[in-house]
């Protein structure tokens, strides 16, 4: 292992990691928004829209991100719409993540027993209050582990961004392997940088999950 090589290329990896994080966070925020929207549509059974949402969820969950990105970045521009690599990355992540988030939120709401809403209504809470004070707090706690799993999953999925010529961690590693044949050094740095990004999120998720356990009380 050449420490000199590692020291020299740490800034390159840092830049790549920041790109991954920036696009990842943006994509995940959009995915959460898409997920909330889909869940709302499905919960209130909005006509027509709920079928579109249902179709979107099936398509998004049954195709790989890499293929979605290829279509977005190399296919769509042929219709005369220009797409930058960064846009493709963020939109792709939001398209993929939206359905995962929607499914997690939906199953969270569904797992709150019906008796909870009925009890709330019989205590003269309005439908809105029942949602706000009774159902949502419990649904949030229940869907939290799935929500964290989704975030880690989506951050991991960003590793295919190099396919649309974004200079992310994978791109950097492959580039250095190709140029200097310092395979072990490049791969070690790749692993370390992914650990730096993903390990804290994973640990934080476990801590918050334990704090939110109250929802499971008695089950």
């Amino acid at each position: 292992m050449s420490m000199e090589f590692i020291a020299k290329y740490i800034p390159t990896y840092q830049k790549a990691a920041l790109l991954t994080l920036r696009l990842g966070v943006l994509g995940i925020l959009l995915a959460i928004a898409v997920g909330l929207l889909c869940t709302t549509v499905q919960y209130y059974k909005v006509p027509v829209l709920r079928h579109i949402v249902g179709f979107y969820i099936e398509v998004s969950r049954n195709t790989p991100l890499l293929i979605q990105l290829f279509f977005l970045y190399y296919g769509i521009p042929k219709l005369g719409i220009s797409v930058t690599p960064e846009q493709a990355g963020v939109i792709g992540l939001a398209f993929l993540g939206g359905s995962y988030m929607a499914e997690t939120f939906r199953s969270g709401i569904e797992s709150v027993p019906e008796i909870q809403e009925e009890s709330a209504l019989s205590l003269a809470l309005t439908k809105r209050q029942a949602m706000q004070y009774i159902i949502l707090p419990q649904a949030t706690a229940i869907s939290f582990p799935g929500f964290m799993a989704n975030i880690i999953f989506l951050l991991k999925e960003t590793s295919v961004f190099s396919a649309v010529s974004l200079m992310d961690l994978m791109f950097t590693a492959k580039d250095l392997i190709g140029m200097y044949a310092k395979t072990i050094e490049s791969l070690s740095m790749l692993v370390v940088f992914y650990l730096i990004i993903l390990l804290p999120i994973s640990i934080l998720g476990n801590i918050v999950e334990k704090k939110l356990r109250y929802a499971g009380f008695g089950t």
Binding site: E58, P64, L66, G75, Y194
Partner: protein
Amino acid sequence: MNLGLEVLLKGSNMLRLLQGLWVALKISLIAVAISIPIGLVLGILMTFHSRVLHVILQIYLQIVRIMPQLVLLFIVYFGTTRLFGINLTGEVSAVIVFVFWGAAEMMDLVRGAVSSIPKHQYESAGALGMTKKQTYQYVILPQAVRRLVPLSINLVTRMVKTTSLITMIGVVEVLKVAQQIIEANRMSSPNAAFGIYLVVFILYFLACWPISLVARHLEKKWAVN
């Protein structure tokens, strides 16, 4: 506008795409077939109350959970050549990585399914005079399997989707074939990328969707009320 659909009908292009898809499907099926038995054994080991075993398997699971599959592919594909001087083909590297990953996921699914059986099931079986073997054979395993099957079918779709990554370590599969077709027809139909990538997209959907539907159907059918 010429969006590439006639390029697909030209010569054996559509057939080549399907053959490319088959390469990806074949690798995921091989990986699933190997990782399910390994995962079953590891998962049952995990339900034993051995501290050492539990710690080792947990570390294994966490490594798999945290590292992107593409990183694992790079490590096996580029790293082994460097470290051990073995030259693995992309296909072999892919099978190794997907088994390493699939076995860990399967292990966790088995652990989850077995430990989700409530304690009173064991106790009731014991109270009815069943031996330990009978308890597992007639009470615990039939219930655990019903929880496990839909989840493992879902693992198959995840495996199929993940095999799309093998193009990044140089395996010629559906995406690579699509690129070749687009490149070869660049002059006559410059906009073919739209139609061809759309078809690849639809092909993946058609490969995964029916499997997901079966998983969901079984999940509903066997739901524990």
